[in-house]
């Protein structure tokens, strides 16, 4: 399936959860906040949120800033 992650098109296997995706980009789910098709997904729902073809995902984390 085709999923847009942080603006990048990725071809992913079906049956992938949001948590799997976060792990696949070497990010710690504990410090990531996610948006799926413009809706915020609470971290408690990462595992049960299954990705679908055409989804748009944003993965963000806190960085240094003023």
């Amino acid at each position: 399936m085709r999923v847009i992650v942080n603006g990048r098109e990725m071809m992913l296997d079906g049956g992938l959860s949001l948590r799997d995706l976060i792990a696949s980009v070497h990010a710690d789910p504990a410090v990531v906040v996610a948006e799926l098709n413009r809706n915020i997904v609470p971290s408690s729902a990462f595992s049960e949120t299954m990705l679908q073809d055409g989804d748009r995902v944003e993965l963000l984390s806190f960085v240094g800033g003023g």
Binding site: H26, V31, L59, L60, F62, V63, G64, G65, G66
Partner: protein, 263 residues
Amino acid sequence: MEQTDTFELGGRALTSRLFTGTGKYGDDGLIPAVCEASGSQVITVALRRVDLDKGADNVMRHIPGHMTLLPNTSGARTADEAVRIARLARAMGCGNWIKIEVISDNRYLLPDGYETVRATEILAREGFVVLPYMNPDLYVARSLANAGAAAIMPLGAPIGTNRGLRTEEMIRILIEEMSLPIIVDAGIGTPSQACQAMEMGAHACLVNTAIATAADPIGMARAFGQAVQAGRRAYLAGLGSVAALARASSPLTGFLDQEEGGI
């Protein structure tokens, strides 16, 4: 015994009036010592996309647990983008404070007053403790107060310039006219400038670049902490008045060789 001087903001009673940032450190590992040396209790962070090739940055592991986190909405060019970033930041589970930054000018990074007011209105209604970064303009300040801001954060000079209190007179007017707390943000380059802002009656200062880019950030953090404290104490003590002509500090009588009862 000295009276405790606390700054009530967003349900917290802060004993430090220096807010710090986490940007621009050569080594983020300095952040805990900077927090300690500055005495700061509020610290800013930004929210960014995870780098898909490198994984998530985790500035959070450097921030001591007792700090109040103040995420900013940097990167937002409109109110709607700021609202989106604020909601994402809150979903991180680190509290509901938000520093609104809405900027579409890349040269001077000046805040967009209209969009900032709009974002403040929406986020205050959603229960955020909203601290908007703003141009020190009285009408914008009043609009932000009406929109539900918890404090306002006027700039002293453009972000990251270390140019000091270029907007001094405008900030003075805000301090005089507004009942909302004033936190001078952006442009403060030296401890003496932070001290001056506090002497003028600002409630707090936010300093990032001047500490993070100093040769010794920990030493500079301590200097800023002391300067903000000194300025606050001076303000509370009440500054003496300014005069055009000299007023002698020593008695003008009892000089040597002076005749009794006359000159």
